[in-house]
Symmetry: C2
Subunit: 313 residues, 2 copies
């Protein structure tokens, strides 16, 4: 890096949309926009589309490439330290050297990693994890995964699978399989679909009156019903807290973070969600790790572009 570099791009590649952010090197988000993810033909257009979007933005702003530090990216699934995606089912990529290809297309330094880890970097740079050197950033969405931050860096693990805490086995009695092939994973309870599944099961098994009988069941409606004291929703949320709290307690024994930062769509339920997770965490964690901070993520959907940008700084 040198003093000439003023700008940086952060790119968050999702299954349906690619989010792009144009930042100053200090981390001020100047502009953000989206382009569609064209997945046809094994997503062959995705990297050229990103390169074109970047070229256009630079032209529009009349900014020279010399002023740009580089392009950071986040993509779903495991990414090696060298920026290679071995296999990505959503995008149809295999052994794709994203940083090299995108570097050639843009003529800029490119670096990136897994999307959850990237979002964790974003929260660490400008969000809820900014004041911590050691933290666990959890996303609760379609799945449950974490970015494990150790001394200011997100760890990868041997196969890029560090932070897969949604696949800690938490229920020995479960009979339904998790998407991963395991049975009784935390993700089967602590994700959006997990909450919906638990709620539907309880509605079927009981005659209890519940607001959930008259509404579409989503993570949001379950938490909304919980917040107004709905008994059945409370059972669901307590079970959610129980399993997620247990997973975080096990995680604490392994990496001893300063804080847990909770993000992802499900975390929009807010402080009430944090409280129930923390209650069970304290019940299951060993005394040496009892007093950890629990905070909500701050950047929402922008965590990915922030984290991506931070790769090249």
């Amino acid at each position: 890096m040198n003093g000439m570099k003023k700008y940086v791009f952060g790119v968050d590649v999702g299954g349906t949309a690619i989010k792009l952010g144009f930042f100053t090197v200090e981390g001020e988000l100047l502009e953000k926009w989206e382009i569609p993810t064209r997945t046809e033909n094994n997503s062959e257009n995705v990297l050229p589309d990103i390169a074109e979007a970047i070229e256009n933005k630079l032209k529009e702003k009349a900014i020279e490439k010399e002023e740009v530090s580089g392009v950071g990216f986040g993509v779903p699934g495991p990414v090696t330290k060298e920026g290679i995606i071995q296999m990505n089912a959503n995008l149809g990529w295999r052994n794709k050297h994203v940083s090299k290809e995108l570097g050639e297309l843009t003529g800029l330094p490119c670096k990136g990693g897994n999307d959850v880890k990237t979002a964790g970097l974003g929260e660490m740079w400008k969000g809820g994890a900014a004041e911590y050197d050691n933290a666990v950033f959890i996303t609760l969405g379609t799945g449950v995964a974490a970015a494990i931050i150790v001394e200011g860096k997100v760890i990868l693990g041997a196969m890029g699978a560090a932070g897969e805490i949604g696949h800690i086995k938490v229920n020995m009695e479960e009979t339904n399989a998790c998407g991963c092939g395991g049975v009784g994973c935390a993700e089967q309870y602590a994700s959006g679909p997990g909450l919906v599944r638990m709620a539907k099961k309880k509605l079927e098994e009981s005659d209890k009156a519940s607001m959930l009988r008259y509404d579409e069941i989503t993570a949001k409606t379950v938490f909304d019903a919980y917040k107004v004291g709905d008994e059945l929703a409370t059972e669901v949320v307590e079970e959610f807290g129980h399993y997620l709290g247990y997973s975080l307690a096990a995680t604490a024994a392994v990496v001893d973070p300063e804080a847990f930062i909770i993000g992802g769509g499900v975390s929009k339920a807010g402080d009430e969600l944090v409280k129930v997770v923390q209650k069970y965490y304290k019940q299951y964690v060993w005394p040496g790790c009892r007093n950890k901070e629990f905070v909500l993520a701050k950047l929402g959907n922008d965590a990915g572009i922030y984290g991506a940008a931070s790769y090249v700084l």
Copy 2:
């Protein structure tokens, strides 16, 4: 470091004895010896005793201090990144800046850390973990603890408590408390005292014939009986494997290591122990981490001095 430095000391401070190792900077152990740990008056003599032992060794060998890289040390309990021990019950130390004090006493650079993490470093440098960048080194002894190795470094955690995987709660039905104050910790089953406790409990609760009824019960006699098919010992060892395997499965989901290296006194039971742990590990771990290496530690009681020496290299 410069080319003049030929030697390094590694010091492993235990509750009853201090082990010292004199190494070449390449890691060849030239000599090892022990001195007693004088714990009276809050162990005020421990650091001066170590300094004197080092001075004497240098005199004996007619080696100048200029030829020595430094002194590395391992001590029980949490040690901060700066080498400060906040509280050590065995030694009676509080807020003791060991690296600074030992540095002043010896006139040599001193650096160190927690004993389990230090032993992990030793196995990483010259032992069972040498070929791995990401590994979990577990000691099974009076307690159960691990050194979590990430990209070639042992991680500390916020309070120096990373790797306390012996305190993952594994048994919700347990009524006896662990030494940590928790209930149902892995250490209550997977340590030496844990094995003895489980064996005694089973002997009391059953009338089954068992070799263990005619012998002193230790981790060794339990595994010896297991190896010849003793039914009651088998129940004990299966329970040991179950709880330890579960803890390692949870650990894998958090840090995704390449391998688990099993050391400590209890690991002398050898391959049979590794097999039973691995069996339950595979049962509980998520598919993405199923194929990890399980190996025995190689350095035995010398892991600590090797790891200590490696701090100053």
